[in-house]
């Protein structure tokens, strides 16, 4: 938690922090996550959305591949040079595969990266939006 070089270090808010740490959910302690990068997948009527927290990479450091059945997000987080006192941020190569079990409009897939959040918008294809079929009574 600290860069403890102070000669006379007082701990303001030390106990509050202790309590906060105690009541924190188990999985999210100290920012550690099981996988990097975390993904959110959502949909609305027109699109599927794949969002991911990938801080520290420019768009051209990121490789997005859309294959027949999947969307692959790949890249490498650089390691800073210097003498480390603390290293919690994940570094190195990463890859995540999102299986697409649904048809998407492959030509109009868009991706944006703002403030370290990647958003991929996969439009549902025209023919896949559910349509009502009227049944004529003979």
């Amino acid at each position: 938690m600290v860069l403890d070089f102070n000669t006379l270090y007082t701990y303001p808010g030390r106990f509050e922090r202790l309590f906060e740490d105690f009541f924190k959910p188990m999985y999210g302690g100290e920012g550690r996550r099981p996988v990097f990068p975390p993904l959110n997948v959502s949909e609305d009527e027109a699109n599927y959305y794949v969002r991911s927290e990938i801080p520290g990479l420019p768009m051209d450091g990121l490789e997005l591949t859309l294959t027949e059945k999947s969307l692959v997000i790949r890249g490498e987080r650089p390691t800073e040079q210097g003498k480390y006192y603390r290293q919690e941020r994940p570094a190195g190569f990463f890859q995540r595969v999102v299986a697409l079990n649904v048809p998407v409009d492959r030509d109009s897939v868009r991706a944006t990266l703002t403030d370290g959040i990647l958003t991929v918008i996969l439009p549902k294809c025209e023919g896949c939006i559910p349509r009502k079929i009227s049944i004529d009574v003979a």
Partner: protein
Amino acid sequence: MSENTHETKALPRVSPAMDILERDDGFYVFMDIPGVRREDLKIDINETELVVTGRAPQGASDKETFLEVQFGPGEYTRAVSLSDRVDRERIKATLKDGVLTVFLPRLEKPAARRIPVQTA
């Protein structure tokens, strides 16, 4: 969404992942705070600590239904205690691609000086 409701809604507090390293010119602190815009980020320095707080709002619209959720909106808070060897006046912070970099330059050592003892 108006700015006011935005302000009052409490977000879960998240402790961002942080790297601290030392180079020749001083200390560098890196924090992963994806989704935080520059205007939503606050860095406060008090006597002994540097406190970073930033809000990452929900990026999705209300109409979306989620199929998989591995991260969410949150308020990042993290405190770093400052060394006596850090020059507080020259601390620099930059935010790029969701990574906050804080540069803490080393304090220039005052030159050693001998104090002459006078006889009364």
